[in-house]
Structures are given as structure tokens and as C-alpha cells.
Symmetry: C2
Subunit: 205 residues, 2 copies
DNA sequence: TCTGAATTTGACCATACGGTCAGGAAGTGC
DNA sequence: GCACTTCCTGACCGTATGGTCAAATTCAGA
């Protein structure tokens, strides 16, 4: 029987569950759900396959756990956008935070991209219940800023999309970016300056 | 023995190879390379599994064929950027063509995204030999336009990245976009107007 | 140190997968 | 109609995969 949810996890449980999830993040983000195997996760984590299944109810359970963890922190940058701040500053800060996430958590970005790319079969409800409300809230906020003349008039929804697309591109398409930017060490730094210019010009009233 | 490359393909061969590739595009773009199975391609195409292996040398052969076909047409919009045209017009037209590709060939876009996401294991050389030269050529062209004062000064490489990211986003993250834009039928039309504004403001000197 | 619970493992299972093969069905040219 | 090639299929194979289980090992508290 897998450790029930009632009792608090021992130190061993914490350590091994973390190991498994870390290895699984590597494997799932690199091969997609179906392409990932428990044996790979086993090898990468250093735990035997049956032992992994002692800590998780199965492959799907591991994947779902990862996606839940991800959703919990992935939207933080958007959540932090402050209605009382300066609109342009807030949005540019959001772009910056989002790009920083690409740098710090590329595997998480790719895990998410894989799931969406395949039609979000294991995440559809989460998107609707977790992401949609926040998205609606923030697009409404941006619209209010625009109506008040504090931002240039653009469709807030497409604005958010373009921020996500441009920032996540550096993590998700890393293999391509790397080939095309051979020799340039400071890719993300250049991206930061570029995106700042871009969104500043777009949004300045 | 699979049909050799020496003889011209019969009508049956043309039809069945096309069927297989079309089905395979569905399956590969939706599940990634490892996640796709010959049985799925078999069912989707209406051809038996051994028959599929009569036309192709194996799963890998089908995938490679798709990627080659893709590369041949995928870069056309970029290739068409005319050095003698008006810089701003050329770039905005490129954005428009790229977005149109997302609308017309979403499966191809996702096939490509899947491959890059997983580190381009079967496409790395292609990127270097096919994409890199074109990328270098066009970024150099844009830089010349900038040096001549005909475009606002931005990093041409990040400019291209941002065009790819924003346009392909609507195909690759379709599942997410659909959830967040419930009710809006004309998503791509709105995107077209938004991106036009965005890049116009960015690039106008 | 002893004891019961938590942790770990080797051996095993059913299924699914990519691929093969011998032979049958269907075209094609004469 | 006949012969020859092309096209197609059912049955099969070796391997990989997700998962199970009984038994062994380790751990934590008294």
C-alpha cells in the first residue's frame, strides 16, 4: 500500500518522493507522457522500479503530481501583477519575471508545453478551473488600465499570449535557439533587453 | 522489399503513401515520436500495419519523411522576404504569412514543436544545414535595414524569435488558447490585428 | 536489544509495440 | 487467358513496458 494521505511523510519519504519527481520531470519534459518510461525514471532517480511504485500509484500519478505542483507555482508571476501599481511597470515586470522562470525552470516549461501540445488530455480541467479565472481577472485589469488611458489600446488577451509565447520560447525551443545563436553566451540577457523594448513600445500610450 | 527509389511511383503508391503520411502527421503531432504507434497510424490510415511497412522502412522512416517534407515548405515564408522591398512592409508581411501557416498547417507546426521540444534528436543536422544559413542571411538583411535607418534598432535574431514564438503559439498552444478564448470564433483574426500593431510599433524607426 | 512498521527488491506477469514472413489477392502487360 | 509484378494480409516473434507480489531488509521507538 502506498503511504496514505493521513500520516505525515517521513524524512525518507520526502527525500525519495522528491528524487522521483525530479527524475520524472527530466524524463517527462524530454519525451512527453507516452514517451517516458518508468525504467528511465528508475535509472535517473537511482530507485528501483517497484520502489517507485511504492511511493506513487503509477505512471499517471507521478505525472499528475508534477502537473499539480507546476500549476501551483507557474502562475505566480501573473498573480503578482499589482492592480495598484503603474500599469507599464507592472506589465514589464511581469515579462521579466516570466523570462526569469524560463531561465530557472526550463524543464517545467517544457513539461507544460508537452501537455498543451498534446491537447492537454490530463490537464484540461485544471486549465479551466485554475488558469481561466486568473486569466479573466488580469485581462479585465489590463482593460481597465487601457480604458483609463494609462496603456496603449491593445487586446489584453493577445497581449498575455504574446508575453507567454515570447518568454517561454527560450525554454521550449531551446534546442533551436542554441543552434541559431551559436557562440552567444548571453542569450537570455539579450532576450530581456529585446522584450523590454518590444513591450514598452507596444504599451506606452 | 519496399519500392525502390529508382522506379517512379504508381498511382496506388502515391495514394497510399499520402494516406500514411497524413495519418502519421496526425499521430506524431499529437503524441510525439515515442508516443506514436504504428497501430494508431494503421487505424487512422485504414491500411494494415504490414502494409504500412511495405511502403515505409519503419516508424523512423515515416517520421523522417514527414520532417523532410516539413522543412521544405516551412521556411518558405522567411525565404520570401524580399531584400528590395520596403523593410517594414516585408516584415509585417512575413508575420502575416507565418500566422497564416499556423492557421493552415497546425499539425505541421506541432510536429515541429514536438521535435524541437525533445531536443531535436532526429532533426539537429537539418536545423544546422537548412535553417541556420537562411536565418543568418535574413538577420544580416534586417541588420542592414537597421543600419540604413529604415527600421528601429532591435536585435534581428530576437526579432525573428519573437515572430516565430507569437505566430506559432496559436497552433502549438491551441488547446490552451481555446480554453481561454471560449466563445471567440475569430481568434486568429484578432491575433492578426494585434501582431500587426505590435511589430509595427516595434519596428517603425 | 527487541519488535513491528516502513522500505526495498528480485522474480514475475500481461499487454503492447515495432517488425518479419510466407503466402494470397489484385493489378498489368502480352 | 497467362505470366509476372505489385499490393496486401494473418499469423507470428522478440522485446519493452506498466505493474504486481511475496519475501527480504532496514528503520524507529520502547
Amino acid at each position: 500500500m502506498a503511504p496514505g494521505p493521513a500520516k505525515k511523510p517521513s524524512r525518507i519519504q520526502q527525500r525519495n518522493r522528491r528524487r522521483i519527481l525530479d527524475a520524472a520531470l527530466d524524463v517527462f519534459s524530454g519525451h512527453g507522457y507516452r514517451g517516458a518510461t518508468l525504467d528511465q525514471i528508475s535509472e535517473e532517480s537511482g530507485l528501483s522500479k517497484p520502489n517507485i511504485l511504492y511511493y506513487f500509484d503509477g505512471k499517471k500519478d507521478i505525472h499528475v503530481t508534477l502537473l499539480n505542483q507546476l500549476m501551483a507555482t507557474w502562475l505566480d508571476p501573473l498573480r503578482e501583477m499589482n492592480p495598484d501599481g503603474d500599469p507599464l511597470d507592472e506589465l514589464l515586470a511581469y515579462v521579466h519575471r516570466k523570462l526569469e522562470m524560463s531561465r530557472a525552470y526550463p524543464r517545467e516549461s517544457r513539461l507544460f508545453a508537452n501537455e498543451i501540445l498534446q491537447g492537454a488530455p490530463r490537464m484540461g480541467p485544471h486549465l479551466l478551473s485554475g488558469l481561466k479565472p486568473l486569466f479573466d481577472e488580469k485581462t479585465a485589469l489590463i482593460q481597465r488600465w487601457i480604458d483609463a488611458g494609462r496603456l496603449a489600446p491593445v487586446d489584453p488577451r493577445h497581449l498575455i499570449f504574446s508575453i507567454w509565447a515570447t518568454t517561454q520560447h527560450y525554454a521550449d525551443f531551446d534546442a533551436q535557439v542554441r543552434v541559431l545563436m551559436t557562440g552567444d553566451k548571453a542569450i537570455l540577457q539579450g532576450a530581456d533587453a529585446y522584450l523590454d523594448t518590444m513591450f514598452r513600445k507596444l504599451l506606452t500610450p
